[in-house]
């Protein structure tokens, strides 16, 4: 057999998001900027390991714990703390125990476990509705899990804001008992979030149409700087009697990217349902990777359950959120200084790590080719990659390609 089994295997296209970083790394221009991946950078453009995290790690190192397998559902303490972070520890759901939370491989792992669970047990529909646009990886995750993807209007390119009327209109027409996915806060890629009164109306129509709500919360604390404010939408839906499912990631808000810390929660009718759901989640997880990695979950647990460290963490999260907000303000100020006549208000109206600049693919290409500024084709920039040192350069470049 001189031939390979793989002769017909096509070269896969580079991942659109992570591929940006690869291209950035190859660039030799000293002024290059990586505004691709959503990983936080400090004002020197460096990765930031939170002090609270370092302290938690030191505690772990001192304890000299064993390396025994975690249960399939992960570290129980972590799961409880994670649910409490999302819902608030006085939430009726937490008190009654009518939920299950399993530790997952960060947000992606959580979404995949959730999608697989729906594929197997949500007998009413195969249809999942994503906001348009959504995180690029949502579609392949749900598709690989066996679901079908559709979209509801979300981003209004005319205003670079929320198309509330369009969203309500589309959602009111979604077939009953379909799955609808919401970004809990800091929508990725647009940075456009509904206001509380808009969330209320969205919850009402979801309830009316008996839709199944799937929340993706990857930025709790990171969006506004306030963990309770950022999880308001999730809590409101639950309060309205909507039993949601929820994906959480600690990649950004704890800076634990490569440790892969996440959780998937299912709000249930009662404790018995929660137990049954948990048993099925474990059956799904086991043939994926057996049980999750402990390191990041241990760190997160210590942070969430030690009063001092939790306080310090919350301050650091606010610090990150504040720096992002500051960069947004500086970018707009600099664009004005450059003499741009466009309305850039959306840059400060949007929230979280990402900003939909409104730039077209051709303009993005020019930014990359002429200025070595790397971002995704849809005009999304990671504001975390902006610093007081390069915001002026960025503004100049944007002005050049958009004037």
């Amino acid at each position: 057999l001189g031939l390979s089994w793989w002769s017909h295997v096509e070269m896969g296209p580079p991942d659109p998001i992570l591929g940006v970083t690869e291209a950035y790394k190859r660039d030799t221009n000293a002024k290059k900027m990586n505004l691709g991946v959503g990983a936080y950078r400090d004002d020197n453009g460096k990765p930031y390991v939170l002090n609270s995290i370092r302290k938690a790690e030191a505690q772990i190192a001192a304890k000299k714990m064993d390396k025994e397998y975690l249960p399939i559902a992960g570290l129980a303490e972590f799961n409880k703390a994670s649910a409490e972070l999302a819902l608030g520890d006085t939430n009726e759901v937490i008190k009654s125990g009518r939920y299950v939370t399993v530790q997952t491989i960060s947000g992606t792992g959580s979404l995949r476990v959730g999608a697989s669970f729906l594929q197997r047990f949500f007998k009413y529909s195969r249809d999942v509705y994503l906001p348009k646009p959504s995180w690029g990886n949502h579609t392949p995750i749900f598709r690989d899990a066996g679901m079908q993807l559709h979209a509801y209007r979300y981003y209004d390119p005319k205003t670079c804001g929320f198309d509330f009327a369009g969203a309500l209109d589309d959602i009111s027409k979604i077939p009953e008992q379909s799955v609808i996915l919401f970004h809990a806060c800091a929508h990725n890629p647009t940075g456009v979030d509904p206001r509380p009164e808009q969330w209320k109306e969205l919850a009402a129509v979801v309830k009316k149409r008996n839709l199944f709500a799937f929340f993706d919360m990857a930025y709790q604390g990171f969006a506004s700087g306030d963990i309770n404010r950022d999880s308001w939408a999730v809590r409101h839906f639950i309060e309205q009697g909507i039993n949601v499912v929820l994906s959480q990631s600690y990649a950004k808000n704890m800076g634990l990217y490569g440790e892969r810390v996440g959780a998937f929660s299912v709000i249930c009718k009662d404790v018995d349902e929660a137990k049954r759901v948990e048993s099925q989640l474990k059956i799904l997880i086991r043939p994926m990777y057996s049980n999750p990695p402990i390191n990041g979950a241990r760190i997160a647990t210590i942070i969430l359950t030690s009063p001092d460290l939790r306080k310090e963490w919350l301050e650091e999260v606010k610090g990150m959120a504040d720096r992002i907000i500051d960069m947004r303000n500086q970018l707009v100020a600099n664009l004005k200084k450059e003499g741009s006549s466009h309305n850039w208000q959306h840059i400060t109206d949007q929230i979280g790590m990402f900003c939909y600049t409104g730039l077209k693919p051709e303009q993005v290409e020019r930014l990359t080719k002429e200025f070595s500024i790397y971002m995704t084709k849809d005009g999304r920039i990671s504001v975390a990659g902006v610093t007081s040192g390069n915001v002026g350069y960025l503004a100049r470049a944007i002005h050049q390609v958009s004037k």
């Binding site: 057999l1 001189g2 031939l3 390979s4 089994w5 793989w6 002769s7 017909h8 295997v9 096509e10 070269m11 896969g12 991942d15 992570l18 990983a39 990765p47 390991v49 995290i53 790690e57 030191a58 190192a61 000299k64 064993d66 390396k67 025994e68 397998y69 975690l70 249960p71 399939i72 491989i105 960060s106 947000g107 992606t108 792992g109 995949r112 990886n137 392949p140 995750i141 598709r143 690989d144 899990a145 800076g255 634990l256 990217y257 490569g258 440790e259 892969r260 474990k282 799904l284 086991r286 043939p287 994926m288 990777y289 057996s290 049980n291 999750p292 990695p293 402990i294 390191n295 990041g296």
Partner: protein
């Protein structure tokens, strides 16, 4: 590895719950856990390898390290060195640049990524009908992995001969001869789980010859390299032989046992292809698969392994730690066998020392197993599988006498 039994007296995962909830109690009450797939010291304790402690300290003290995302396929130094470990220092395939690695979440993750890839790209595209053959018996999660990857036709190939308590080579080869061409065969690289029974070198050669002639795809599961015989090269012999015979193959490697890194989820899927170009394309498609399951793998465990494998001193220390574990298991095997023979326990017990690795198929039948569990508080699997790591110098006599009682009371 979390275990559950195919035809069990107990529901899934009860053994894990026992262990976690009752550990100190168990030690006191002489309730002996022989069902978990984790190494234990002679004091019945988990063992963090000294080299791992050392490397973890190094990592903890290195302020230059951060928690940034790894690439989708994982830490490059880990992938390359992990593949080198199984394929050998002087691997021609590596020199010819036709080997790739995908860092995965443990051996399970490696199997799943490999299975997902095969379902999409092997024997056509999205050919869910390609038969997948799993040994009878095998690690019970094998079946689940391939089913969940989308394969519709999972079959068993004969492996364990209960009557002679050894390998049913004739049955195995017959099943390979009659398997449809291009079928996938999941092979245990060494220390077969759960039987502890491996083909001899000559038998592996026969297996390879049939597989080559029938165009069968070898998917190796290597969870115990070094842990079985105490020697890394010896435990990788089968995989290396297949590579030298020109096979394209997958090998899902786990570092859970040989590094004792169970909960860090460290694994590597090694891909050996005809040439670099094919391997590149395969890896690019595996990236797409990984991206929708976990995006990119956890860094801690991979860092520990990579650091160890790339430093000669640490590497030597690691091999030593591995040998410590393997030697203890080998000692327990010979001690148990000696006691059973001294007691005159009915039956033959040489299989205890002929089998290799963490597990042994004792040959105890369900009634005898039930006795062991209920009356003697020795929790082995209903299949009669025992984890040799549960044996200690302190409990050898008790276990031997319990087996003796079980075998003499129930036939």
């Amino acid at each position: 590895m979390v275990t559950s039994v195919s035809h069990s007296l107990f529901p899934e995962n009860v053994f894990t719950r026992f262990h976690q909830a009752l550990s100190p109690w168990l030690v006191e009450r002489k309730t002996l856990l022989f069902s978990l797939a984790a190494y234990r010291t002679d004091e019945g304790q988990p063992w963090v390898l000294p080299v791992v402690k050392k490397v973890e300290q190094k990592i903890a003290n290195d302020a230059s390290l951060n928690h940034e995302y790894l690439p989708i396929l994982g830490l490059p130094e880990f992938r390359a060195n992990a593949s080198r470990i199984v394929l050998g220092e002087d691997s021609r395939a590596i020199k010819e640049n036709r080997v790739g690695g995908v860092q995965c979440l443990g051996g399970t993750g490696g199997l799943r990524i490999g299975a997902e890839f095969l379902r999409r790209w092997y024997n056509g595209t999205n050919n869910t009908a390609t038969p997948v053959y799993i040994s009878s018996p095998s690690w019970e999660n094998h079946n689940s992995v391939f089913v969940n990857a989308g394969f519709k036709d999972i079959r068993a190939y004969r492996y364990w001969d209960a009557a002679k308590r050894g390998l049913d080579l004739e049955g195995l080869l017959e099943d390979m001869e009659s398997a449809p061409e291009f079928s996938i065969f999941v092979l245990h690289a060494c220390a077969h789980n759960p039987t502890g029974t491996d083909p001899t070198l000559e038998q592996w050669k026969q297996i390879a010859a049939v597989m080559k002639r029938r165009f069968l795809f070898p998917f190796f599961d290597s969870a115990y390299q070094g842990f079985a015989s105490g020697c890394l090269d010896r435990d990788a012999w089968a995989v290396r032989y297949f590579v030298s015979e020109g096979f394209e193959l997958f090998c899902a490697q786990s570092f859970s046992k040989n590094f004792g890194l169970y909960n860090e989820r460290v694994g590597n899927l090694s891909v050996v292809g005809k040439d670099a170009d094919n391997v590149q394309r395969v890896l690019s498609q595996m990236e797409k698969i990984v991206r929708t399951i976990w995006s990119n793998p956890p860094s801690q465990g991979a860092r520990i392994v990579a650091t160890t494998l790339t430093c000669p001193q640490l590497f030597a220390e690691w091999k030593d730690n591995v040998k410590t574990m393997a030697d203890r298991v080998l000692l327990m095997r010979s001690e148990l066998r000696a006691r059973l023979q001294a007691l005159g326990t009915p039956g033959t017990w040489n299989h205890i020392t002929e089998q290799i690795g963490m597990f042994s198929f004792t040959g105890l039948n369900p009634k005898q197993v039930e006795y062991m569990i209920k009356e003697k508080h020795i929790y082995l699997m209903a299949s009669g599988r025992i984890n040799m790591c549960g044996l200690t110098t302190k409990n050898l006599d008790y276990v031997a006498s319990s087996i003796h009682e079980a075998v003499t009371k129930f036939q």
